[in-house]
């Protein structure tokens, strides 16, 4: 990979990030008529109180001044204060990020592994019952709204059978520590994690299947078989590594999107992460919080897109010149 290719990609991403930041500012300027008034609706404020609050929310001065100040503050990761808790938005986000990273990270990992395996099995046994079953199953999970799948799992496993808790990240009444505490959290994690795994799995399985089917027509597989190589080695050494290429890109791109993809599912399971925070901020409405979350979600997509581009270029030399 040439330095020029990398610099070009990085600069492009920075420009996009800058656009997102500007867009973020102006979009929320449109929505906020007078946040101070809407926040303290029905309460009498003295003129000095009003001015202090306006200043605290960064709403004094002209739009141009506000924009410059917004850029400065964003550069310092100062995203304002949440209307709901009056805590800095960056602190709120940081405290909630771990729950989402754990949930989404584990589900992404599981769905990638199982999705790729299902895709390989389906492609290699093309036109058999196993293939049709796997394809129907993955298409069905793709077609379901993810949070509806969550509702079904929740009603069956938690409400009817009572095997799992109905929501939250831990049992509030228990004061278990150490291993018991972790086990409690794992129990709470299970259902939302299963939901997201099933929801993501379909795409990986379908992409892996069609990519492997493409590869299976290549001459080098015929050659490998002609050499007398066993079928399983033909598959694992020659077909699968080449077929994985497009899947790797999709995984990298999806990594950026998953951070924001779990909003409805987190709301269903009251999983106290960024998704639930978005849901709550929407119902507030807590605009600084929403603004900060949107910025974070966008930045995640941009960063992972960049990584996907670079990863793809290092895996596939043909892309570098394109």
């Amino acid at each position: 990979m040439s330095a020029r290719f990398v610099t070009g990609k990085v600069l492009g991403s920075l420009v996009t990030l800058f656009f997102v930041i500007c867009f973020n500012f102006f979009l929320f300027r449109v929505v906020e008529g007078d946040p101070v008034a809407s926040l303290f609706r029905g309460r009498n404020l003295t003129v000095t109180q009003r001015e202090a609050l306006t200043k605290q929310f960064g709403l004094d001065g002209s739009t141009g001044e506000q924009f410059v100040r917004y850029l400065e503050q964003t550069a310092h990761l100062n995203l304002g204060r949440s209307y709901a808790t009056n805590q800095p938005v960056s602190k709120e986000i940081a405290s909630k990020a771990w729950a989402t990273i754990a949930l989404v990270g584990i589900s992404t990992l599981l769905s990638t592994v199982f999705g790729v395996l299902i895709g390989i099995a389906a492609a290699w046994r093309r036109r058999t019952k196993a293939d049709y079953t796997a394809t129907t199953f993955t298409m069905a999970t793709y077609a379901m709204p993810d949070f509806w799948l969550g509702m079904l799992l929740l009603s069956f496993f938690a409400v009817t059978l009572g095997w799992f808790p109905v929501g939250g990240i831990e049992d509030a009444s228990s004061n278990a520590t150490g291993v018991a505490h972790l086990a409690d959290q794992a129990k709470h994690l299970f259902l939302p994690c299963l939901t997201l795994t099933l929801a993501y799995l379909g795409e990986y399985a379908l992409v892996m299947r069609s990519s492997l089917l493409d590869t299976m027509r290549e001459d080098y597989l015929v050659l490998a078989r002609a050499k007398g190589m066993r079928e399983i080695l033909v598959r694992n050494r020659h077909a699968v590594p080449n077929a994985l290429l497009p899947v790797v890109t999709i995984i990298a791109i999806n990594f950026g999107f998953v951070l924001s993809g779990a909003i409805a599912v987190e709301a269903i399971f009251s999983w106290p992460g960024l998704g639930l925070a978005t849901y709550d901020a929407l119902n507030g409405p807590d605009l600084p919080m929403l603004q900060g979350l949107f910025l974070l979600f966008s930045a995640a997509v941009i960063v992972f897109n960049l990584l996907a581009d670079l990863l793809y270029a290092s895996l596939d030399p043909r892309v570098r010149t394109a």
Binding site: T16, M151, L259, P285, L293, F297, S298, A300, I302
Partner: protein
């Protein structure tokens, strides 16, 4: 003399197009999954159109349902039971299908119009305008769709129109890219050069030569965009951004969840709307795949 030749040339072109459409339909019919999808879509289309015959619209209002029992399980009076306010779930399901399909289809049309325009203009003219349009397209591609849609819907307020607008302006970029790629190859073909040499204007070239060549692609893209639009609508409505006066399937799911249908074991309230979404989405995907296979025969081998 020259007019005779012109009309007959046009007639030949039409006859050829009709014949290829008939051939495409023959191919489509032989695709079993595509036909299943089509039948399911027709059934849901009939359900949505016949809504006034199947369920009384007045049943959507809680004030008209006070004499009904709440959380009643399915019975002969209420085929899908009642909700927490005594409203018939069947009535909500039937009328909800209208809103869900309406939003899915209209938002897709909007996305297709934007995507096709951007794709054609940037592909056909290229140059600086094309470059700028492609930059904008790429920018829209990397912006996380759901948060953007949420933020826009929150700004525009909860109504059917704003949901359509939000989904429409966030789902066109993929189409623009596909159309642009196709336009780039079509415009290099010999007959386009010939037509240009004969003095054809850009408008003529686009209308007579480019459009007919990308129309099938637009159709296939449309059938694959509708399911995404319907899923997006469901999620946005579930998050509370749907129109409260014209409930869709997503809105039903929101109300069911908020009213505690899960702990009431009222499966008849939250299963039907989700199932409806799933079936419609699946049907559109099956139709779209079948259309894509007709356009790109290589896929047939791969998917079979």
């Amino acid at each position: 003399m020259s007019t005779v030749a012109l009309t007959s040339a046009r007639r030949i072109a039409w006859r050829r197009r009709r014949r290829s459409a008939a051939a495409a339909w023959r191919q489509y019919r032989s695709n079993r999954a595509g036909m299943v999808g089509l039948v399911v879509l027709v059934l849901f289309g009939l359900l949505a159109l016949a809504a006034p015959l199947l369920a009384d619209h007045a049943g959507l209002a809680a004030v008209n349902s006070t004499q009904n029992p709440v959380w009643a399980s399915p019975s002969e009076f209420h085929p899908l039971g009642t909700d927490h306010l005594g409203r018939s779930v069947w009535t909500q399901f039937v009328w909800g299908s209208r809103i869900s399909l309406l939003i899915g289809l209209t938002a897709t049309v909007l996305a297709m119009v934007i995507g096709t325009l951007v794709g054609i203009v940037s592909g056909f003219f290229g140059g600086r305008i094309g470059g700028v349009l492609m930059r904008i397209t790429e920018w829209f591609l990397v912006i996380p769709f759901l948060p953007l849609a949420i933020v826009l819907a929150a700004v525009l307020g909860p109504s059917v129109q704003s949901i359509i607008l939000v989904i429409g302006i966030t789902s066109w970029p993929a189409t623009a890219r596909v159309i642009r790629a196709q336009v780039l190859t079509v415009k290099e073909r010999l007959y386009v050069d010939r037509s240009r040499a004969l003095g054809a204007s850009s408008g003529h070239l686009m209308g007579r030569h480019i459009m007919p060549n990308i129309a099938p692609l637009i159709l296939a893209n449309t059938t694959l965009t509708v399911p995404i639009a319907i899923l997006s609508e469901t999620t946005l409505s579930f998050l509370g951004l749907g129109d409260p006066t014209r409930p869709s399937w997503g809105k039903m799911l929101e109300e069911a969840f908020a009213a505690g249908a899960l702990s009431e074991h009222a499966w008849w309230y939250y299963v039907p709307p989700g199932l409806g979404v799933m079936l419609v989405v699946l049907a559109f995907v099956l139709c779209g795949n079948a259309l894509e296979e007709i356009l790109d025969p290589r896929l047939r081998e791969q998917r079979a």
